[in-house]
Amino acid sequence: MLLNQDNFKEHVPWLAASLVVTVLATGWFFFAAAGQARWPSGSSIPGLTFGLAGGLICLFEFLIWPRKKLRSWRLGKMTTWMRAHIWLGLVAVPLLILHTGFRWGGPLSTILMALFFIVVLSGIWGLVAQQFLPSTMLKEVQAETVYSQIDHVSTQMETEGHKLVTLVCGQAVGEKSEKDMGNSLEDFLVVGAVRKEGLIQGRFVSAKSNLSCVPNSEPLRNFYHQSVKHYLLEGEKGNTGLESTFKARMMFQAVKLKLDTRAYEAVAILESFCDQRRQLDRQARLHFRLHGWLLFHLPLSVALIVLMFVHIFAALKYW
């Protein structure tokens, strides 16, 4: 979490500085406004100062992007950058509101202000999401993996599932054997499983032995090829019914009834694969919620910076 009881002490100086800057700026603004007919505009001395400060902050905020891309340069600690990004971004809000003199102005300044608010609000949404969603993910997605590797891991599970089914059900008629394809087919299988030990949980590699061919286990093969395989590869998009925990349990129960008890372990492993795939789907959804705001925050920040320079030029030209 970006903000919690443990690291709050590190945020206190930033919080205090932000409050001091806000109070001083507001005080100066209202002092300059005293006795005046209108609020000081963006071109008044305080307004210009606030605009300059706000613009520089926006530029600094934008620098976090290259900072992330150029990790190897080690330009300060990322946590410090992030704290500065958060608090300076929040300080820019009162500064730029004071810069406007409580007016929207014309088309460009209105667009700029709208962009600024969207960027700030999306940033705040991101901050809030960072507070809650990681812990939710930790609780609900024990099989969490790197987001970009979800498809890769799913393919692995499908490969393992296929080997498992071949081991238990035997070679299907017309199907090329693993040995024919150059692959090993030992009497043990290495599978990914989820385990929790104390506070530590995660996915690990587990070797399963004594898996041998079980007679009359054709229903398992059929079930695998009709449902499990598609679900492992496509996830929710497969629309196999396995995306529902309850329905999946019923489906696996039904398959078990048709099999010899010696095949039950294989069924349990396949069920575990489906459960992991379900968690990966959940991870993908949570990931979007956790990072989806960046689809607004980053592009609009770029537009904001470009238009900010246009605004500066125009404001000086038509002063």
């Binding site: 007919a37 014309g106 590797q149 002063w319």
Partner: protein, 550 residues
């Protein structure tokens, strides 16, 4: 070909270079970022490429309707990289470092607008630029003349500090609020107890009393005493008894529109077109005019033998005398055409002869006598010239300020005891003698059409109130010297912050400085908007103006 899976491969559940791969989310983010960059740069390029036409997007708001034609043409008013109005940092060293802060680029404004300076006594640094007060870009319906109080109070709260060295104060030093309890002074004309500088004697109390009589038992002035053509103007309605006393009110004489005189049918046609029927804006009372407001009761009858015949108004005594001589001579010639025939008169009179025939001499004396009698009737008669007008004199208020009281003609026209008015004696010469230093000319009435020279008041905006609500002293005023204007408290009943009182509410109406005052004296009677000072030095071609060409 895939061989036996190694232990390392089995343990590697994810690719080691996974961070180099782009997910759909990353691709979407990058696409949107690129799109935002392209769109913002493209839009900026498009705007700049359009030049002035594109500069509207930089505008901080729509221009007021007076300037709406140049909404998309910033350079009409703005000079590149120069402030449109004085800012000033409040810090001398900063202002010196950046002269643009205190520059006053009024040139562009003044190419179309000029106006007299507010006061030549104000310091240069206290003189705002046009844009300091007239803030545009606040919408189409914004009134650029509605300047907030603070713009005025910035100087008037401490006027002395904003005065050039060597100038003396002519106005109140400190004004910051019109509110009750504020430091806006009483109107000077009331505070200094000025007297009416007009040179027309008038008794408001008499004229506002029904029947126009002050003494009990005196006969009332009735509609029967007014010519039929004028009765409607003074309130007579068809069927009303002519013996009904005439009852005047303020509007009988003080009108905002010429048609308020309610002329009788046919009377309008008799009035020269383009004469007195000029439409007014309705803010000021129209001048009281003899022909419309006085003649009905004060006809200039000059000859008892010629009822209904009136002398023309607006003639000075000499002119009136000439006019009367013409009238009587004409009557004599019409009665005796022989006088019109040419007579041969020897160039040099014969010895013992005057050169004139006795009958001619008799006629001349006869005409002179009738003229003198008519002049006496007009000047001494009740309800005629001398009733209201004053004679010119060296101490006339127009020249000496609004302090002295002009002498009345009638005062000087009292004939010395035992002196008879002779037939051949010029009444005007006699009048001059009697009036001492007086020049013998009737003084121009000089009734002020505008009392407040530094503020404005719109009567038409206040027409819903009874006149006496503010001008209550008019009912009891018996002398022309009374200034019947209301004081500032009368204004504050409505114009001030809304507050509850024991009797209800007071205030609520607008009470900004510009409600009554104009910086450029646009409503000053001497510097109105039609004044030459308001015309730009260089007149421009309309097409050039619209294209912002110089």
């Amino acid at each position: 070909m895939n061989k036996h899976e190694t232990g390392k491969q089995r343990a590697t559940r994810i690719r080691l270079n996974y961070y180099r791969t782009w997910t759909p989310f990353d691709r979407c983010k990058a696409f949107l970022t690129l799109l935002a960059l392209t769109m913002s740069l493209g839009w900026a390029a498009f705007v700049f490429a359009r030049g002035d036409l594109g500069s509207y997007v930089f505008s901080r708001g729509t221009l007021a309707d007076a300037h709406a034609a140049w909404n998309e043409n910033c350079s009409v008013c703005h000079q590149n990289f120069t402030p449109i109005y004085k800012r000033g940092s409040g810090l001398a060293f900063l202002d010196k470092m950046f002269p643009a802060l205190t520059a006053s680029p009024d040139t562009r404004c003044q190419s179309c607008h000029t106006g007299p300076a507010h006061h030549d006594s104000q310091k240069e640094e206290s003189t705002p630029a046009c844009g300091n007060c007239h803030r545009d870009h606040r919408g189409l319906d914004i009134n650029l003349l509605k300047v907030p109080n603070a713009d005025c109070v910035s100087c008037h709260a401490n006027l002395e500090a904003n005065l050039k060295p060597g100038y003396s104060m002519r106005f109140a030093k400190n004004i910051s609020s019109f509110n009750p309890g504020g430091n806006h002074p009483e109107f000077r004309i009331i505070e200094k107890k000025w007297q009416d500088p007009g040179s027309i004697q008038f008794n408001h109390k008499l004229h506002l009393t029904p029947g126009l009589v002050l003494e009990a038992g005196s006969p009332a002035w009735t509609f029967a005493d007014i010519p039929e053509v004028d009765r409607a103007q003074f309130g007579h309605t068809p069927g009303l008894d002519l013996k009904t006393p005439v009852s005047l009110d303020c509007r009988s004489c003080h009108q905002l529109d010429p048609m308020d005189s309610r002329p009788s049918p046919g009377a309008y046609e008799k009035i020269p077109r383009g004469g007195i029927f000029v439409r007014s804006q309705g803010n000021l009372m129209l001048p009281v005019v003899y022909d419309r407001h006085c003649r009905a009761c004060h006809p200039l009858n000059y000859d008892d033998g010629q009822k209904g015949v009136q002398a023309p108004h607006r003639l000075q005594p000499d002119e009136l005398r000439s006019w009367l001589e013409g009238v009587y001579a004409n009557q004599l010639v019409q009665a005796n055409p022989e006088f019109a025939k040419p007579k041969r008169v020897p160039p040099v009179p014969l010895p013992g002869k005057t050169g004139q025939e006795p009958e001619y001499e008799s006629a001349r004396v006869q005409v002179a006598a009738r003229v003198n009698l008519a002049m006496k009737t007009l000047f001494f008669g009740k309800k005629t010239c001398g009733e209201c007008h004053f004679a010119d004199g060296e101490d006339h208020p127009v020249r000496k300020g609004f302090t002295s009281i002009p002498k009345r003609i009638r005062t000087g026209l009292q004939a010395p005891a035992g002196k008879e008015l002779k037939a051949d004696e010029s009444i005007t010469a006699w009048f001059r003698e009697a009036a001492g230093k007086l020049a013998g000319q009737a003084v121009f009435p000089s009734i002020p059409s505008t009392w407040f020279l530094h503020s404005r008041f719109d009567h038409s905006d206040h027409r819903f109130t009874d006149c006496k609500q503010c001008h209550d002293r008019a009912v009891g005023s018996v002398t022309k010297l009374d200034v019947l204007l209301p004081g500032i408290e009368s204004c504050r009943v409505c114009h001030g912050p809304l507050k509850s009182t024991a009797t209800g509410f007071s205030g609520g109406a607008r009470h900004e400085c510009v409600e009554c005052h104009r910086y450029h004296h646009g409503d000053n009677q001497l510097q109105g908007r039609g004044a030459h000072d308001w015309t730009p030095k260089t007149l421009r071609n309309l097409q050039d103006l619209h294209k912002a060409l110089p």
